[in-house]
């Protein structure tokens, strides 16, 4: 499964309050989440993001709250993949559980608007002629992602298979 998209690049420790502020999280309207995604970090993001774009960040992306609205807001806004040097634990699970691909790449040189190509099976990341490799996820997470999230995974398997 290959993803090709344009990069939006941010720094370390992007917390869930900056991904989607708490005041917007109490809703089941995913579109309203997307309208405010990354609002306190980059107020222009929701206007400039295009379907298929990739968010690239530094260490500890998604730290803070357990709000699944954070990956949901990014996914609904059109983000196809998040690359970070590391992810906060709950955000990592949430993203996979809602079927938003994410990949941990320890070291990279990616600039704003770069076109990034990622092979989710091999973890290979190609940008500007450079190649990086992402950290392998546990098999259960790969399986959940292959089902496009935990809802489909459990609908099908009825239990967790490690």
């Amino acid at each position: 499964m290959k993803i090709i998209g344009k990069a939006h690049v941010y720094g370390d420790n992007i917390d869930t309050d900056r991904i989607i502020p708490g005041k917007y999280t109490k809703t089941l309207d995913m579109q309203s989440l997307a309208e405010h995604v990354l609002e306190d970090l980059d107020p222009e993001f929701s206007k400039k993001v295009q379907q298929g774009d990739i968010v690239v960040a530094g260490e500890n992306f998604g730290c803070g709250s357990s709000r699944e609205q954070a990956p949901l807001a990014l996914k609904t806004a059109g983000v196809s993949l998040i690359i970070a040097k590391s992810f906060a634990r709950i955000f990592f699970r949430n993203a996979i559980n809602i079927g938003l691909p994410i990949i941990e790449v320890k070291d990279y040189n990616i600039q704003l608007e770069d076109t990034v190509e990622v092979d989710l099976i091999t973890g290979k990341v190609e940008v500007n002629g450079n190649t990086y490799f992402g950290t392998k996820m546990p098999d259960v997470m790969v399986d959940i992602l292959n089902e496009n999230g935990l809802v489909n995974y459990l609908s099908k398997h009825k239990q967790y298979n490690l």
Binding site: K23, K26, G64, S66, S86, R93, L154, Q159
Partner: protein, 416 residues
């Protein structure tokens, strides 16, 4: 091979002996979701084909994050929760009952040695009583509602040994901010933390909850306070590691050297000693949250504000952690002391801490808060600065209208 606390609890819930690094499926003892996370969890549960939750006696829903409902949209979400709870026979805590984490311990839903999932990051609070409790998202919770189980990787553990007496005016909040400052906001990601030592043995349940709650501010999956010295209103078996357990890291702290600590904007690990802070003018002071909204916290504020008056340019707002906390503070005169000093009491809930309602800062305002996060925009306005500290720190700043060392105030050096 000896086991840490988390290795022991996961082993009993996996039905096999596990150690750090193992992946396993575990049975869960209790599940919790709030009005931020329950609506999505209920939808996910139904979309998984869920009809009945695995055991309705093992789940509670809590309306606390936007409580009472600030608008029609949220009122509808609350209704959805009430309907689901009613249809499933699940316990629902409604408006004013309290903050989810306080209720989970007060009402004995979380107990020592159990494994609990909550769809809220501060679920790690129950480590205060030796519960392995961890925050998950809505869909993970839905999976546990359906199956009664979840999967996890057994974390490594960082052991923090704290010995000595805390100086007067220095509280558990100062201690945990000091620890967050040392470990950093991602320093314990994927790890568990255990706290031990003579300082911890002497701490009240309220203080233990303050410390355990902020484990997530270091990225930790769980934070256990060794239960030695803990008293609960029921019999329980102590939750302690084996003496030969393996730790990833051991940190020693001398409590007697800890001063009043403040997390300055915009991260809870930007921790400084108050002695290194200027007397910054403040506009709003908030005491509350799962981290510091308990009786002990209100007492600490009342000690500073008794027979005094909050600075005229400061709004002091207080949200007790539960109806029980409020009632206890009402009965012992603390509510009267604080109200006479100019405090405004809010219904029990999370509103100001999480920026939902009941205390959104104005532009360019400075807030002092006893809560757990000061991320940019956390309280609902990105054009404001949040300083986190102990309830005594918040009360001292409210009194003088500027950041003030509560230790000096208690010694009578600063006056009022």
């Amino acid at each position: 091979m000896g086991q840490t606390i988390v290795e022991k609890i996961v082993s009993t819930h996996a039905g096999k002996c596990v150690h750090a690094g193992d992946l396993t499926v575990v049975d869960v003892d209790f599940l919790m979701a709030s009005d931020t996370t329950a609506p999505l969890a209920i939808n996910a549960f139904k979309n998984m084909g869920g009809q009945r939750i695995f055991d309705p006696t093992k789940m509670a829903l809590v309306i606390d994050h936007a409580s009472p409902a600030p608008n029609q949209r949220i009122a509808s979400l609350h209704d959805l929760m009430r309907e689901f709870a009613n249809e499933q026979g699940i316990k629902l805590y409604d408006v004013g009952d309290g903050i989810c984490h306080q209720l989970m311990i007060e009402n004995r839903h979380a107990r020592p040695g159990q494994l609990v999932l909550g769809a809220d990051s501060h679920t790690c609070t129950y480590g205060a009583i030796g519960t392995f409790s961890t925050g998950v998202g809505s869909t993970d919770l839905a999976g546990a509602m359906l199956t009664g189980r979840t999967w996890l990787k057994v974390p490594e553990t960082i052991l923090i040994k704290i010995n000595g007496s805390l100086p007067k005016g220095v509280s558990a909040k100062d201690l945990v901010l000091h620890v967050v400052g040392i470990i950093g906001i991602q320093g314990a990601t994927y790890d568990a933390i255990e706290y031990t030592g003579t300082t911890m043995e002497d701490l009240s349940l309220d203080s233990r909850m303050t410390i355990a709650s902020m484990s997530i501010e270091m990225g930790a999956k769980a934070g256990f306070i060794h239960t030695k010295g803990l008293s609960l209103p029921y019999e329980f078996e102590h939750v302690l590691p084996d003496s030969d357990a393996t730790y990833k890291q051991i940190i020693d702290i001398d409590a007697s050297t800890v001063t009043s600590q403040v997390a300055v904007p915009h991260s809870p690990d930007n921790v400084v000693s108050i002695e290194n802070l200027n007397e910054i003018i403040i506009h709003q002071a908030f005491i509350g949250s799962c981290t510091n909204g308990r009786l002990e916290d209100l007492h600490a504020a009342a000690e500073i504000l008794k027979d005094k008056r909050v600075h005229p340019n400061v709004r002091l707002i207080i949200a007790p952690a539960s109806r029980k906390v409020f009632l206890d503070a009402l009965q012992d005169g603390t509510v009267e002391t604080l109200t006479k000093a100019g405090a405004t009491f809010l219904p029990s809930g999370c509103g100001p801490c999480v920026g939902t309602h009941l205390g959104i800062p104005g532009n360019n305002e400075v807030i002092v808060s006893s809560t757990n996060r000061n991320f940019l925009g956390r309280m609902g306005n990105r054009n404001s600065d949040i300083y986190l500290g102990s309830p005594a720190f918040v009360a001292a700043a409210a009194l003088r209208g500027k950041i003030t060392n509560p230790q000096k105030l208690l010694e009578g050096v600063c006056g009022s």
